[in-house]
Symmetry: C2
């Protein structure tokens, strides 16, 4: 929980920074990406990292580590309904990491850039002083608004809006570190299709990285509402129960708030209505399961941030 | 040396990536920043990191670690004669790092953003699995071309050009980890003034992070020339000998190639002619000291990358 509190504190302070010079900040820290105006144009920017032992297990192939580092950033681009422009990466290598692993990491980043259509244009390779220090891959992505020009934030959900998700939930991160977090396709195309299809009926969006419980809570908090989730409607991954579907995280699907029915599918990816938004305590998430009501704040993400 | 080889390999491969979609890449990896075209406008981007035990010593105040993480990126902006727009940061914290230290890090980043006029608009805070894992702060900066519209690269030096530096050299990193690397002011104003003053007489520029020997070598390599440095002309920091001035690194001054005499000072910062460029093996750097000639490739940076 500590990181979330700290991020909140940093975010609050950083909102005060908008006047320190440099680019005009249109969407400050606190959404999936920041939006700035540079030379009269809007540019989206976000950064995220993968840390050995936290975001991937020992023995994970370097190609998959590299792909995840880029893909989870591209998922943030999808969450804003934006289009990837380019990325930069910094890599902190354990001392003495075999050259073959380093090459596999670089090759994996390049392959992911090609697959996800987001060239890696710069960065830095550094080495830890110790061989025991974990690999850290930090990626920053730039993006542009899509063809409609609309950037979709976490705020804007209204009472009565449906809460919808793409794909399946609960299969992102298994106990042994396997799961779709190593192979997911960021929902960039789906998000762009959604904006075109729903227009003004699409009110708010986020990607599910911390788990639907927490991420629906972000939508609810930024919109000043409460979210209600019906556990029986969750599109669960094979082997996942509703608690995994709500709490495990690393699904990298989209969660969005819309007025009226969503499409059944986007670009072949199923869409499911899993709940709705109501007036109530801002940021609260209630889960109805087997006749009982749970507060999702008690169903945290299992493996850290 | 290993990181330099790997960076070169990654760079070479990444140059092939320009056609994978996303932004048009105008300056690919290999300069101080990449230059991309987004929505018809030119945007500069670079990323760099500081790693505990490598880029700062144990016991360094967190405020100075944060400042260095941002300032060395701003130094890359200066090297292109560009203007800071905004930054994002990811932080990998050792497990159990005291909250006071985390707050000092966040406060330091905010203070540095204000001082350097580059708002930190987003990022991520993560925690290592172990308390022994080193703090890693990765910062990405965006920048725009300055008022003249000119972006100055490492290539373009011509035979006969003077090799000039700002400020003093050799005081960046002392044996105990102290030095100006924790307090330097990136030469953004100086670089902008230089472009205005010299116009087309300014041919190439870099910031001195790896040491003048290596960084003059980058100018020489990208320009297809050899650089000659006169050790007696080096503007040495107090206590530094010519070997430290050439090889120690972390000076974060500008080195540039120009046709004819440079100004004596820029914004109050002295400018010194320390050598010149000649036709010869591309990337070779020769240092004349006390009547002898040394190949600078034998005078590497002392404390790593």
């Amino acid at each position: 929980m500590r990181e979330f509190e700290l991020i909140e504190e940093i975010r609050t302070h950083n909102r005060e920074l908008a006047a320190c010079g440099g680019a005009e900040v249109l969407i400050p820290p606190g959404d999936d990406m920041a939006l700035v105006r540079m030379a009269g144009r809007r540019v989206l920017i976000a950064a995220d990292q993968v840390i050995g032992g936290r975001h991937f297990a020992a023995g994970t192939p370097m190609s998959l580590v590299a792909r995840k580092a880029l893909a989870r950033n591209i998922s943030d681009i999808a969450a804003m309904a934006a289009v990837p422009s380019c990325a930069v990466a910094t890599v902190a290598l354990p001392a003495g990491m075999p050259d073959a692993d380093v090459r596999a990491l670089a090759d994996g980043l390049r392959a992911a850039a090609q697959e996800l259509r987001c060239p890696v244009v710069g960065g830095d390779v550094g080495t830890h002083a110790s061989a025991d220090a974990p690999l850290v891959v930090s990626v920053t992505v730039l993006a542009e608004p899509g063809p409609t020009g609309r950037v979709v934030t976490r705020s804007g959900a209204r009472p009565g809006d449906m809460l919808c998700v793409t794909g399946t939930l609960g299969g992102g991160w298994n106990a042994d570190g396997s799961g779709s977090h190593l192979s997911f396709t960021p929902r960039v195309a789906e998000a762009l299709a959604l904006v075109e299809l729903l227009g003004d009926r699409l009110h708010a969006m986020i990607d599910i990285s911390d788990g639907l419980g927490r991420d629906a809570g972000h939508l609810a908090a930024e919109s000043g509402l409460t979210a209600e989730i019906d556990a029986e409607r969750l599109p669960l991954a094979a082997g996942a129960d509703w608690r995994a579907g709500i709490g495990r995280g690393e699904d990298y699907e989209l969660a969005f708030a819309c007025d009226g029915a969503p499409p059944d599918a986007l670009c072949g990816t199923p869409v499911t209505v899993v709940g709705h938004f109501i007036a109530g305590t801002a940021g609260r998430v209630l889960v109805r399961a087997a006749g009982a009501e749970h507060d999702a704040s008690s169903l945290g993400w299992e493996h850290g941030s």
